[in-house]
């Protein structure tokens, strides 16, 4: 975990380019505080020197100005001048606030933007394997909630801290010159107020967590009730559900109530320290006026400064407890950013771009996930333009075999060559742009179907999108939607069935200019007839493209030039369909089922004579 100092250094790093803005903003905060103190000074001077004829200490500059204008009498006759100065200073503060906000927010929003941008691009560059294992919910939380915590700190709390400290210093300086004793009296309760606020906010964080959990529990009951509405109704469990929700909401109510009461106590208690401080100062000041001849103007000065100080100082405790939260959040963000990107090892030697339309050779390839062997010494050759099909039970390693071709993983032993070039020396982006793969559970982006299919090109031609959709046998389906190709996919749009998703994904991959095409069981959710139709279309279009097909349907596999039967990470057979049905084995057994249908029915005596 980062220390507070470490996370400040990280923030400073991301701020590069706008650091001056931030420093400028802090300087303006200080100017603003100074101006804020001038307002009461002007009123106090005016009242003291002009109206009550007191002897309040006034800087020489002001005295000179007053005498050059015609002395006290002139000012007394023209009090509007003081009023104008007062309004002007407030106006000037406004100008300061404006520039301060501009600089501060420019710097902090820029910093946050850089953090988000780095996160986003870094996440995309993390290895395939990372994403297979990643907990997406937690990652999204780090990218959003945690970054927001950091943002709040740099755009607000850090500045508040500076303001509070500076206000204190200036107040002590100005008031101290009037009366040191009275100044000390005015601040005597402050450390206590700050400590109390710090301790409270640290403590409140625990109750916040309780509330969050209760809120989560309530949401779960609600969500399950809504998604399971059919079950609830079918069993007539409305009353039971009502009770369940009621319990959850009662818990939430109690947790919130406790938190609210804590805050009610906090605010009133911290008000208490504030007003106690104010009353103390007031009495002290009265004592000094009545017994020690302090001027009435100075009395006003103390009174207004104390009012100004209380609020920011009360905030200090909170800021301190938030600083700790920021540090944790920054640490969580960094955990993602410090993961190694898959492109980190790139050199000119391993970013070659050879032609991909060439023979692909697997030479003694072995691969294991976390020491669990998946491929064992696999050797196979796919000539350019050949179709290679692969069959095997779940977990036999057939997906891994084709994923190696896009360098989603790199093999541990043996090597894969394309046109004689070791695949590990080929540029990943280049390789992936030439090798098209359709995953079994493809992800569609939440945009229109048209945009999804055309995503690989910057300006997809609508005709080509429709053509490829037709090849993937999904054109008619899309047209049947109310909004056709404009239909939104995903959370906020329509939910496509598994088969429809797969076909859209096929169309999307076909939009690319491929040298190699891989179908990783990507027609599993499509019915047999459509499957056949798609393959037929593909055969005529993919002339010269090396194709890999993984499927468990014999009909899908039978047309391939070569069929690899994978069992337990090893190739148990690698020949054509004709040869395979001659050999005793899995393939033959599955093949024979087709003719079995008739046999079974005949045995049962149900087959109609006309068949």
């Amino acid at each position: 975990m980062n220390s507070s100092k470490g996370s400040l250094r990280r923030i400073w790093f991301f701020m590069k380019g706008k650091r001056l803005h931030y420093v400028g903003a802090i300087l303006l905060v200080i100017t603003n505080v100074a101006l804020q103190y001038v307002g009461p000074l002007i009123s106090s001077w005016t009242i003291d020197r002009i109206i009550t004829g007191g002897d309040m200490e006034v800087p020489g500059m002001v005295v000179n100005l007053v005498s050059s204008m015609g002395g006290k009498e002139f000012i007394a006759a023209n009090l509007w001048f003081c009023a104008l100065v007062l309004a002007l200073i407030t106006g000037l503060r406004g100008v300061c606030s404006f520039f301060q906000a501009k600089l501060l927010n420019t710097a902090s929003e820029y910093t946050v933007r850089r953090i988000k941008d780095s996160l986003y691009s870094h996440i995309q560059n993390l290895p395939f394997d990372y994403h297979v294992k990643a907990e997406t919910g937690d990652m999204v939380q780090r990218c959003t909630t945690d970054v927001e915590t950091v943002r709040r700190f740099i755009s607000g709390q850090l500045v508040e801290l500076c303001r509070g400290i500076f206000m204190l210093l200036v107040a002590v300086f100005i008031l101290g010159r009037v009366s040191l004793a009275l100044t000390l009296l005015s601040l005597v309760l402050m450390p206590f107020a700050i400590f109390f606020s710090w301790a409270f906010h640290k403590n409140a964080a625990k109750q916040f967590k309780v509330v969050d959990e209760a809120d989560g529990a309530m949401t779960t009951v609600l969500q399950e009730n809504l998604t399971g509405v059919r079950v609830v109704r079918a069993f007539g469990r409305q009353e039971f559900e009502r009770q369940k929700f009621s319990d959850a909401i009662d818990k939430l109510y109690a947790a919130c109530k406790k938190l609210n009461n804590m805050f009610a106590f906090f605010w009133s208690f911290s008000d208490f320290t504030a007003v106690a401080q104010q009353a103390l100062t007031l009495m002290g000041a009265m004592y000094f006026v009545i017994e020690k001849d302090m001027s009435y103007g100075n009395f006003l000065l103390f009174n207004s400064y104390i009012g100004m100080l209380i609020w920011p100082l009360r905030q200090l405790g909170r800021v301190l407890s938030d600083a700790a939260k920021m540090s944790i959040a920054m640490g969580r963000v960094d955990e993602i950013l410090f993961e190694t990107s898959e492109y980190k090892d790139e050199t000119p030697q391993n970013t070659k771009k050879p032609p991909i339309r060439a023979d692909i050779v697997f030479d003694g390839v072995s691969f294991s996930y976390d020491s669990l062997p998946v491929l064992k010494n696999v050797s196979v050759t796919a000539k350019a333009g050949e179709t290679v099909a692969s069959l095997g039970p779940t977990g036999s390693g057939k997906s891994t075999l084709v994923q190696l071709l896009q360098r989603l993983y790199d093999c541990k032993e043996g090597k894969i060559t394309i046109g004689g070039v070791d695949i590990k020396e080929i540029d990943r982006h280049y390789l992936r742009s030439r090798v098209g793969i359709v995953l079994q559970e493809p992800f569609l982006y939440s945009r229109s179907i048209e945009e999804n299919i055309g995503i690989t090109s910057t300006t997809p031609e609508p005709e080509r999108v429709r053509e490829m959709a037709a090849v993937a046998s999904v054109h008619d389906v899309i047209e049947s939607f109310e909004e056709g190709y404009e239909t939104l996919v995903g959370e906020r749009g329509v939910t496509l069935s598994g088969g429809q998703k797969q076909r859209v994904a096929i169309a999307r991959t076909l939009m690319k200019d491929n040298d190699v095409l891989i179908f990783d069981d990507s027609l599993s959710a499509v019915d047999t007839e459509t499957d056949a139709k798609i393959r037929e279309e593909l055969n005529t279009r993919c002339e010269g493209i090396t194709t890999f097909i993984i499927s468990h349907r014999i009909s899908t596999l039978s047309g391939a030039d070569k069929i690899i039967v994978l069992e337990d990470g090893k190739i148990s057979a690698c020949v054509t369909h004709q040869e395979l049905i001659e050999i005793e084995g899995m393939y033959k057994r599955i093949y024979e089922i087709q003719s079995m249908v008739e046999t079974v029915e005949r045995e049962e005596g149900t087959l109609n004579a006309q068949n």
Partner: protein
């Protein structure tokens, strides 16, 4: 760019009728609102009293430099100040009580409402929308109402008392101060509106970024295979750039707002300093009175500003009000008649003593069913099913077989015609009566957070532990449950997420059997179950359906074959009917469907058998 719904970011006109309805929902909390009123009035009176006491101290003690009479006023000052702390505590407690109470009440009522709404509502309303009505919308409304009350009460009482006292003290000075208020009101309102609009833009930009992160993370693998990293980055950078622009704009705008108000306010103070100071010099008013004006002048603009802000806030919460009220006012398409409720009880609690036993004869008499959009699914459909019959419904997606099942369950009601159960129109009995006699197993099994035991017991709440375990054994679920470390006490996770689909399916069977229903409805699962589990489920089905009227939307051949009657449905009509042998002999649709399906099943079977064999060898 990921698209998002913009509804929540649109400005709406304030409809006070809607707010009136919401405020009526707050009726149980009127007493707390009154407390808020009491405390805020007291608090604002203190805010006026304090400067008054000060002004007395100035005139009678500070200027003459004497303690005479000071202790009394000082004590008064301290008393007022401490009383104010009490009011602070009091109003926070009361406002919280209103906020929390109203949120909770709205959620409870909305939840009850949701339990009575029919499926036609659920079919067209995404779960996420309903969720946000009960969570964020309800919260936001209560928050707005409770804290607006706080500010309104304080502002109004403060303005009135301050104005009255000032007018009595010196009407000229008072009018000067009051004269600045209209400007402040107008400027405040304008600024608040723009500020809220700006922040809405920020929120909208932010939710796009969250969406993009979501997609970037979930779709990372696909993005890699399509080499979309650069394109995605570019798009994302566009989003964050927008966010930066909007945020800076919003922040700068709110940063100048307050100083402008302060400046106008300070014009008021300046005027007082000028005219009041002259009055003091002329001996018209005392220094104490002057200081009273100076203090009040310092925050007389605050109430105006508050009121302007509240109005802007109410405006921006309008959409939330409409969403909540719409949900509350949605009528249910399926309701028991008052007579039925009178005799058999409502949707929550049934008068079971009046319930007749359900045997299980079901008859569709000339049933027509149309969706609300006019699409006709069934037309003049008749069908008679005897108690104990096992019916398979076969047909393509959209053929109407799900509708038939939904009608039987009374999740929908016929548009025309009648459905009779045991010879009586089912609308003459309560929904709860039918549902309590129904066993229902869904294609995608739906479990609830909690233990396995709790989930099975959902079928019959008063079942003993032994009964629960007995049904689990009956469907062969006991074997996998006993393998789990905590057995029946295992937590299944949200929606049953910690169990596999097959395991969830078995539990949902057990749950249905425990209910001991007269009518069984089974929407059979098609995929994602391994051979072993499939065989178990098959055996479970056989036991479960024995002797009960059952309707099966079937995909698996073995299930279909053993049914008494198979109905092939197409476009809302029965095109073929009969048992397996009869339909095979017909050589029509069923024959085609069966042979294709058979091939596929056997292929898959051989493959997974191989997988099982391999595992066994290891």
């Amino acid at each position: 760019m990921p698209r998002i719904n913009e509804e929540e970011f649109v400005d709406k006109k304030v409809d006070f009728r809607m707010w009136g309805k919401i405020i009526r929902y707050a009726k149980p909390f009127y007493k707390y609102i009154f407390c808020v009123f009491f405390f805020m009035s007291a608090s604002s009176l203190c805010d006026v009293l304090n400067p008054l006491i000060m002004s007395h101290l100035i005139d009678h003690n500070l200027i003459p430099q004497t303690w005479d009479g000071a202790p009394l006023y000082m004590a008064l000052y301290v008393a007022v100040v401490f009383f104010q702390i009490v009011t602070t505590y009091g109003f926070i407690r009361s406002a919280n009580a209103v906020e929390l109470g109203l949120t909770t009440r709205l959620r409870r009522l909305a939840f009850d409402k949701l339990q009575t709404l029919s499926f036609s509502y659920y079919d067209k309303t995404p779960v996420g929308y309903i969720m946000s009505r009960l969570t964020s919308d309800a919260q936001r409304l209560s928050d707005t109402i409770a804290w607006s009350c706080v500010d309104i009460f304080w502002s109004v009482v403060f303005m009135i008392t301050a104005a009255v006292i000032m007018l009595f003290t010196n009407w000229k000075l008072a009018l000067m101060l009051i004269a600045t208020t209209p400007f402040i009101a107008v400027i405040s309102y304008f600024f608040q509106k723009v500020i809220l609009k700006n922040y809405r833009l920020v929120r909208s930009a932010n939710s796009k970024i969250t969406g993009a992160f979501n997609e970037g993370i979930m779709g990372a693998k696909t993005t890699k295979t399509l080499v979309q990293e650069e394109a995605n980055n570019k798009e994302f950078y566009g989003l964050t750039e927008n966010m930066q622009t909007y945020s800076v704009k919003a922040a700068v705008f709110s940063a100048i707002y307050w100083p402008i108000i302060m400046t106008i306010g300070s014009i008021g103070t300046g005027l007082i300093l000028w005219q009041g100071g002259a009055n003091v010099l002329a001996g018209v008013i005392t220094l104490g009175e002057f200081s009273f004006f100076m203090t009040l002048g310092g925050y007389f603009f605050e109430p105006i500003n508050n009121l302007a802000r509240i109005f802007a806030e109410v405006q921006s919460a309008q959409a939330a009000v409409e969403r909540v009220i719409t949900l509350m006012d949605t009528p249910s398409d399926i309701q028991d008649t008052p007579e039925v409720v009178e005799k058999f009880g409502d949707e929550f609690v049934g008068k079971t003593e009046n319930w007749p036993a359900l045997r299980g004869d079901v008859e569709f008499k000339n049933v027509t069913f149309k969706y609300k959009d006019g699409q006709t699914v069934l037309r003049n459909f008749s069908l008679k099913i005897k108690q104990g019959e096992r019916i398979a419904l076969v047909g393509e997606t959209g053929s109407g077989k799900s509708t038939i099942v939904n009608l039987i369950c009374r999740f929908y009601e016929p548009t025309e015609g009648v459905i009779e159960i045991d010879g009586v129109d089912y609308r003459e009995r309560s929904q709860l009566w039918l549902h309590s006699n129904l066993g229902y197993v869904l294609q995608s099994p739906q479990l609830f957070s909690g233990t396995i035991r709790g989930n099975i017991r959902y079928g019959r709440l008063d079942a003993t532990d032994e009964e629960v375990e007995e049904v689990a054994k009956m469907v062969d679920a006991a074997s996998f449950i006993n393998r789990l470390e905590k057995g029946y006490e295992t937590e299944v996770g949200e929606g049953g997420g910690r169990l596999s689909t097959g395991e969830k399916q078995l539990i949902s069977f057990a749950r249905a059997i425990l209910a001991n229903p007269a009518i069984f409805v089974l929407d059979e699962a098609t995929s994602s179950i391994d051979t072993e589990t499939e065989a178990m489920i098959q055996r479970a089905i056989e036991r479960v359906l024995d002797g009960r009227t059952s309707f099966i939307i079937a995909h698996r051949l073995s299930t279909i074959r053993s049914c008494d009657r198979i109905l092939v449905i197409d476009k809302g009509e029965v095109v073929e009917a009969g048992n397996h042998r009869q339909l095979m002999a017909l050589g029509g649709r069923y024959y085609n469907l069966y042979t294709t399906q058979f091939k596929n099943e056997r292929e898959a079977e051989s493959l997974s058998l191989l997988g099982v064999k391999r595992e066994a060898e290891e």
